[in-house]
Symmetry: C2
Subunit: 305 residues, 2 copies
Amino acid sequence: MINKLIEKIKKTNAPIVVGLDPMLSYVPQHIQKKAYQEYGETLEGAGEAIWQFNKAIIDATCDLIPAVKPQIAMYEQFGLEGLNAFSKTVKYAKEKGIIVIGDIKRGDIGSTSMAYAIGHLGKVQVGDKQYTGFDEDFVTVNPYLGTDGVKPFVDVCKEEKKGLFILVKTSNPSSGEFQDRIVDDRPLYEWVGEKVAQWGQECMGDEYSYIGAVVGATYPEMGKVLRQIMPKSYILVPGYGAQGGRGKDLVHFFNKDGLGAIVNSSRGIIAAYKQEQYGKFGEINFADASRQAVLDMIEDITAAF
Amino acid sequence: MINKLIEKIKKTNAPIVVGLDPMLSYVPQHIQKKAYQEYGETLEGAGEAIWQFNKAIIDATCDLIPAVKPQIAMYEQFGLEGLNAFSKTVKYAKEKGIIVIGDIKRGDIGSTSMAYAIGHLGKVQVGDKQYTGFDEDFVTVNPYLGTDGVKPFVDVCKEEKKGLFILVKTSNPSSGEFQDRIVDDRPLYEWVGEKVAQWGQECMGDEYSYIGAVVGATYPEMGKVLRQIMPKSYILVPGYGAQGGRGKDLVHFFNKDGLGAIVNSSRGIIAAYKQEQYGKFGEINFADASRQAVLDMIEDITAAF
């Protein structure tokens, strides 16, 4: 799947991923109204509104981008009906030929991580039959539990030829509280990066490993160091746009081959129509605004090289 | 909710929690068969089998125990149908008067953690209406992202009078890989414990805080130190039984008031009928075997005092 991701990045010339993290407040009124007319102001109605919103954004951007990254929390907040919208979004994006990175940040002890890995990347056995659960192409994983909490995800990736992005240095303001603490003269996130590189050696694609890392755009200097520590790991870079990261901050997340990183923007793309810059599109044409925001983001990033 | 948990622990005289982490292989043949007859060998059939299994175990043990801890990964592996079984289990346990600790180990950047907190502990707004998603009483949280990833959970707990157990030192073999690394002369997990104590000061119940910690039974010496660092935090102790922890290892997780810890057993209770010791019950009476295993666990733990 990492080979396929790289191929799609090269083809689109866009090392970006659109974060499908819909808050209900991002969903235009006309979509919400229609969903509530059909299902009422219910969890089902909210799920329908989010799904229709995602569908329109996927339709408007799918020829420009290699991947989407739905953040499962935004769906999980609406319970089962929200997760149904998550599942439909994953399926639809894949039908449209886009790679899906499930931003799930799971991680637990071995047997439990295996269940998560099966549910999101693998196949589950029921009697004599096998089924997929959510069936993303990549997922994000939390490393706090160490190797035996990550290994089951790696094993399922090997089996299914899928991939991971493991949290190394997150984009949020207090990520340093534990991640930056100094251990044997180096910050903890570097030690986590070392482990990611090591886990990744076990399952290499053609140029890069199936096992990537998450490093926030908001910490470009740390990205530079981590790029060296994990030369064969793709870096998923959140924090561009709304969280403050800019194109010029991103250069060092990439390798000299122009590959090695994929930059996420969520709000900046999916709620573009709410920004002054894209106001001319109007709420009704929100998906066109998202398309324009994708084009602008690609230009911002490629101009920085 | 922490007051209610303590009250129930005192009433049952059982500082224990039953981990509802069903693998399909734990579910007796007659339950699986019935579910597959009705729904086929499908994800729906698997969900039904797990739900009927849980229901029988809750019925057989609910007068003896203060709380259950369903591990959401075991449900998530069956996709939406599995999560439907999770949701039904949470609701049923609460109807039976048992406190529910959702073992979800979520944690993300602020706005995303807020969505998880809403989905599992709070209420979500849809138009003019409010709904609950999964509606557990407590959830487990991963601290790797620092304060701003934990704070939204704390805020929702204050609002809803619910609680958290934050991962400090996990029970698995490689938990030490990052958690035990030395930072300023102390292992990282102690620094995480300090933060848990600090976060917990913001929302105190009568004797203990709404904000507790997870510390594995497999590391009793560390539990002793963490007990001192977080005197007002309840400690959820996994790793008893199948993972190797025993009653005598647990004494130091408790405070002198006999409170302060709640010990989880999963496989040891729910798959008791598969153990030689409880073989006499037979597969058909699996729930009676679980009841006996609960009684034996209570005796093992109270005898250690």
